[in-house]
């Protein structure tokens, strides 16, 4: 494909206009927009594949630290499974907390990846091209972690397969009335789709890497490329498949977090059994997810020197996203408080007081500041949106805020059942803390390793995008525009 393009007027050496003023405009456009700033495909590929193979000291250090934390996670899990759930801070009133908080949180950030790549693909936002794969990898690893959480949380994890539908001599099946059953189903579907979606997208790039690489990488890519040769037929199939996935995955994504919200919405626990939980959880998930993607983008940009690909325009756009999602989330969140405040159901009033003036007040206000105050105060300004450190700072705050928000819902609200005799407070103990740290580490570790194994920037999408981009002159001004397809 690159070859065909290069026959006549290859985009990467289109001459600048002679008029210096216009030339300046074109130059500006080119450095602003990645897709305008076309380079020869080989060079583009090199920009991705080059750093990928160079494993510096920082990488190995990160690998050791994160790997260590991950190992601690697994060890702690083994310890907990051997000793019993009693090693956690859970008690007879609050039987869920730490792991379910993580579960909801990771499902949440799992959302953004597919949202960005699938939804934006459907909406034909070309600029998304360099972001999509990082986002997808976040989805995959976040979901993997989220999937383990209910298992870690189980009293007898070695019997987990009883929750799966398979024919057995007991003549017993899982209970379709239980939200947990649908959790498993939805997450499993979502995980599978996301993995396939990502893998398909990677195929052509793997093939490119295969040609360039040597040694074990060569063998690895040979296997992974599944014999991709880049024939028109293959491209056609790939394109259709990706489209089908993009359309198919979006409803799945919405279903997943709605189903997760049922774990709470379908109970009798005051503060949980609210009909708004479905959409509210979905939006919250996207909110934290987009924030997470911003952070991952920044890290990768630094670690793999992707300044060429990830530019101000991308961070700016993501910033806008974050702001919009923040508005939406706030709308749902306060809906969830307005009604209780209005109808004054006793326990809900207790919980409300607890948040506003009780021992949970510090948490609650931190959450409000991190989720509402700061994003609203900063993200409106382009300066903040386009300065990477600032934006990452905000995104981190959003992570903290959203984690606390889930903590308040799961670990605190649950402490206030109908009968006051049973009220309780949950205090985390070492195992939960270690496991939580471990899973965070695992997600980062996964992305780090993946970014070194496969091109984390979709080369072919970038090149394709660049080929389709051009400029159009109207009077004395030049605008970025699609070139008429040749």
């Amino acid at each position: 494909m690159a070859e065909q393009a290069s026959l006549e007027s290859p985009v990467w050496n289109r001459p600048l206009p002679d008029d210096p003023e216009l030339a300046a405009q074109v130059r500006e456009i080119r450095e602003k927009h990645l897709l305008q700033d076309a380079r020869p495909p080989r060079e583009v590929a090199e920009k991705v594949l080059g750093p990928m193979a160079r494993l510096g000291r920082v990488f190995w250090l990160a690998l050791i630290v994160l790997g260590g934390l991950t190992a601690t996670w697994l060890a702690t899990w083994a310890y907990q499974a051997y000793q019993g759930m009693g090693v956690t801070g859970l008690n007879r009133t609050i039987m869920w907390a730490p792991y379910i908080v993580n579960f909801v949180y990771f499902i949440g950030i799992g959302h953004a990846g597919t949202f960005i790549s699938a939804a934006l693909r459907v909406l034909k936002f070309e600029w998304r091209a360099p972001i999509s794969r990082a986002a997808e990898s976040l989805t995959v690893f976040a979901l993997l972690v989220a999937f383990t959480m209910p298992l870690i949380h189980m009293g007898r994890v070695w019997k987990f397969y009883w929750m799966l539908p398979f024919p057995n001599q007991r003549q017993l099946w899982p209970n379709p009335r239980s939200p947990i059953f649908w959790d498993m189903t939805a997450i499993f579907t979502y995980l599978t789709c996301s993995m396939l979606f990502m893998y398909l997208g990677i195929l052509p790039d793997i093939a490119i890497a295969r040609e360039k690489a040597s040694g074990w990488r060569k063998r690895l890519y040979t296997v992974l490329a599944l014999g991709w040769r880049g024939t028109d037929r293959e491209w056609k199939h790939l394109d259709t498949t990706l489209n089908i996935f993009s359309y198919g995955i979006i409803p799945v994504m919405f279903s997943v977090h709605t189903v997760v919200s049922w774990d709470f919405a379908m109970t009798l626990q005051p503060g949980w059994n609210s009909s708004i939980f479905g959409p509210y959880f979905v939006v919250g998930a996207l909110y934290s997810g987009v924030g997470a993607v911003i952070i991952i983008m920044a890290i990768l940009r630094k670690a793999l020197h992707l300044e060429y690909f990830l530019r101000e325009e991308h961070f700016n756009a993501m910033g806008k996203f974050l702001l919009i999602l923040s508005f939406t989330w706030v709308y749902f969140y306060f809906n969830d408080y307005l009604l209780p405040w209005y109808h004054k159901e006793p326990i809900l009033t207790v919980i409300f007081r607890l948040f506003t003036s009780g021992w949970a007040a510090p948490l609650w206000f931190t959450m409000l500041i991190a989720n509402i105050l700061i994003p609203w105060a900063t993200l409106w300004s382009r300066k903040v949106r386009s300065s990477i450190p600032a934006l990452v700072g905000v995104a981190l705050l959003v992570q903290v805020g959203m984690y606390i928000e889930r903590y308040l819902i799961v670990a605190v609200t649950l402490g206030y059942p109908e009968l006051p005799f049973d009220w309780a407070v949950y205090v985390p103990r070492l195992p939960e803390i270690l496991i939580t740290l471990g899973v965070f580490a695992f997600v980062v570790l996964g992305i780090t390793v993946l970014s070194r194994l496969v091109p984390i920037i979709p080369i072919w999408e970038v090149v394709e995008g660049q080929l389709l981009q051009g400029t159009r002159r109207i009077g004395r001004a030049i605008f970025p525009a699609k070139t008429e397809a040749d």
Binding site: Q83, G84, M85, G86, G89, L90, N91, R92, T93, I94, M95, W96, P150, H153, M154, G155, R156, V157, K159, F160, W162, M163, L172, P174, N175, R177, S178, P179, I180, F181, M184, D263, M266, T267, L268, Q269, L414, P417, E418, L419, P420, F421, D422, A424
Partner: protein, 258 residues
């Protein structure tokens, strides 16, 4: 019995088809008269002994892992120095419309259509604790650790009741092992159950007979007779869980002195 023995003794290969005994189903109901409950804890200890409920150590109790199938909830009524304690024995309410049942992914918490009880099938439980969260009475007890019965104490374990392992949810069963025992006897003797034949450990020992137990579907039974009075109420009735445990309000004071 003799013809039965002959049948068994001739070792006839073709098993005679089972006699068509239609097993009756029951509405087991517990009635707790708060006017008589003195908070003496006899029911609690009796329950522990009958059902092999482990006693948790001080450390565990402090961490909120105390484990009792029936407990005496003590509330305070009134203001200032006029405050008076009241006792509310709390146990699994055996809801007809139980919140714990639909949420269990593996049918460990199931409804027995036959006995109209919430069953907890311990060996099926995987320990998601969803049922425990969803029980507004917090009547379900989780085995945070495997139970420990030290030395010869193992010998007083009731062989009719499963000893639960760690990571399993458990709860009051209305002494289902006793229910089954009397039912099996009745079945073998080919007679209906008698009222008062089935008594759970707590009701059996209650010195003031504050706890009354029986089959509501039998209009002659003591519970059926005593239901529907002025003082009757159910805990958290508004949630629509339709418990099978009924309470009778305490008679109350005539405006006390001092």
């Amino acid at each position: 019995m003799s013809e039965l023995e002959t049948r068994l003794l001739d070792r006839g290969q073709s098993a005679a088809a089972a006699p068509k005994t239609e097993l009756p189903s029951h509405k087991w109901t517990m009635l707790i008269d708060l006017d008589k409950c003195t908070g003496c804890n006899a029911c609690v200890v009796a329950c522990h002994v009958e059902n092999n409920v482990p006693i948790r150590s001080e450390r565990e109790v402090i961490r909120g892992h105390g484990q009792h199938w029936i407990r005496i909830e003590r509330y305070w009524e009134g203001e200032g120095d006029a405050q008076r304690a009241t006792f509310l024995p709390m146990l699994c309410q055996q809801c007809s419309n139980a919140p714990c049942e639909p949420v269990c992914p593996v049918y460990a918490s199931v409804h027995s259509e036959r006995e109209n009880l919430n069953l907890q099938v311990y060996n099926r439980c995987v320990g998601t604790r969803f049922c425990g969260n969803n029980c507004p009475y917090r009547a379900r007890q989780f085995n945070w650790f495997a139970p420990q019965f030290e030395g010869p104490i193992t010998e007083m374990l009731n062989p009719d009741v499963t000893v639960r392992s760690g990571g399993v949810m458990e709860k009051c069963t209305f002494c289902v092992q006793r229910i089954r025992r009397v039912e099996e006897d009745a079945l073998v003797e080919g007679r209906p159950l008698r009222d008062g034949e089935m008594v759970p450990a707590c009701a059996q020992t209650c010195p003031t007979s504050a706890i009354v137990f029986g089959d509501r579907s039998d209009p002659q039974s003591q519970v059926a007779q005593r239901l529907g009075g002025q003082r009757e109420f159910q805990v958290l009735e508004h949630l629509g869980t339709a418990p099978n445990v009924y309470y009778l309000k305490a008679g109350g004071s005539d405006g006390g002195a001092g």
